[in-house]
């Protein structure tokens, strides 16, 4: 499977450097290595979800309990979580570090991913969520740390979009 193990490890290490202790996830192709790394790490609590919006609740609970968390989801999972983001994270000023695999963008071959790709950034902007693109390996550590820093300072969700260039090798 041409999902980049090297760059997945880079992202995972950056999450560890951010002192992330709880990761919620719903599997999708680009996230497989990240989820496996979380599962194999005895110091990480991985919560496999039935639906992505549960992760908004879990991260809200973790934040109120003083523990850093991150969410791994596909952009369609983000779309499925919008009410939870609005009615919990934005309403209650909860920082979220959302790592979103950006399917349906440039280079996408699967027709079924393309509508979600077209609306991801406009919807993030519509609900006022700052976006950081992860395209280049040298940016990963700095951008994830900065995204978390902004989330905590603003008590607001942030979106880190994982691009095809970073995640997929073909």
């Amino acid at each position: 499977m041409p999902v980049s193990v090297t760059n997945s490890k880079l992202i995972y290490d950056a999450l560890k450097a951010c002192d992330v202790k709880i990761i919620s996830a719903l599997p999708e192709t680009w996230l497989v290595h990240l989820i496996r790394m979380a599962e194999e790490d005895p110091d990480m609590t991985l919560v496999r979800l039935a639906k992505e919006e549960e992760g908004i609740g879990i991260s809200a609970g973790a934040h109120l309990a003083g523990v850093n968390s991150a969410l791994l989801m596909q952009n369609h999972g983000f779309l499925a979580s919008i009410n939870a983001i609005v009615s919990l994270a934005l309403l209650y000023k909860i920082p979220l570090l959302m790592l979103i695999s950006y399917r349906g963008h440039m280079g996408e071959k699967d027709p079924w991913q393309t509508q979600g790709g077209l609306v991801t950034e406009p919807i993030l902007r519509a609900i006022n969520i700052p976006i950081w693109h992860l395209n280049n390996p040298p940016d990963v550590h700095r951008r994830l740390k900065d995204a978390q820093t902004l989330a905590h300072a603003s008590l607001h969700p942030v979106a880190v979009l994982l691009s095809r260039e970073l995640m997929w090798e073909d």
Binding site: K21, I22, T45, V47, R48, L49, A50, K51, E53, E54, G55, I56, G57, I58, S59, A60, G61, A62, H63, L64, A65, G66, V67, S69, N83, A84, S87, L88, L91, Y92, K93
Partner: protein, 194 residues
């Protein structure tokens, strides 16, 4: 059983634990019994109180977390039962007051009014202990047993579809949020070596 009577019966247990409730009548009724900083009322995001409870329970394993849910909210996020059952945090108690109604939006019947069985769904999802309690006394006993058992427990209590006259709470939701977070931090400091 009236939910207000049920809450009164278990208030002495709730008082000392982390409590997350859903919006609407149950939040107001608990608030009126006596607000405490360890109580969080999720005033929106229907369905996610149990997910929040799971996040807190995983983050604070030495503390008990009690989620007070309702049939309408739980039906919006049935997947939460499979997630709770997957990780089985022994410090989490999930109470569901089932009034078979979306009371706070005008009393429309939910699917539990036409036979959907939340106890059965919770059991079939793999929640290790699922109890039913339909009187204040039996609920109090079930709550005490569940808290002592260190086993993920669900309790379903049928209650009447009546609520308070007013839904007003003199507690802005952000005040509740910051109060609650500070309270959890203080609890962590007193017991916690991570």
């Amino acid at each position: 059983m009236l939910r207000a009577d049920a809450l009164q019966a278990i208030y002495p247990e709730l008082e000392h634990h982390i409590v997350v409730t859903i919006m609407g009548a149950v939040a107001v009724e608990l608030y009126m019994l006596g607000h405490r900083h360890n109580f969080f009322y999720l005033e929106h995001a229907m369905g996610l109180a149990s997910s929040m409870g799971l996040g807190i329970a995983l983050a604070m394993p030495e503390h008990k977390v009690i989620v007070i849910d309702g049939d309408g909210s739980l039906l919006m996020n049935l997947g939460t039962l499979s997630t709770l059952a997957r990780y089985k945090p022994g410090n989490l108690l999930h109470i569901v007051f089932d009034n078979e109604s979306l009371l706070s939006v005008g009393g429309f019947p939910t699917a539990t009014a036409t036979g959907t069985d939340l106890t059965g769904i919770a059991r079939a999802s793999g929640v290790p202990s699922v109890l039913e309690a339909h009187t204040p006394d039996s609920l109090k006993t079930s709550v005490s047993e569940a808290l002592a058992s260190n086993t993920l427990t669900g309790i379903v209590s049928k209650v009447e579809a009546t609520g308070p006259k007013s839904f007003h709470m003199d507690l802005p939701l952000l005040e509740n949020r910051f109060q609650f977070k500070r309270c959890l931090e203080a609890m962590q400091r007193h017991t916690h070596v991570r």
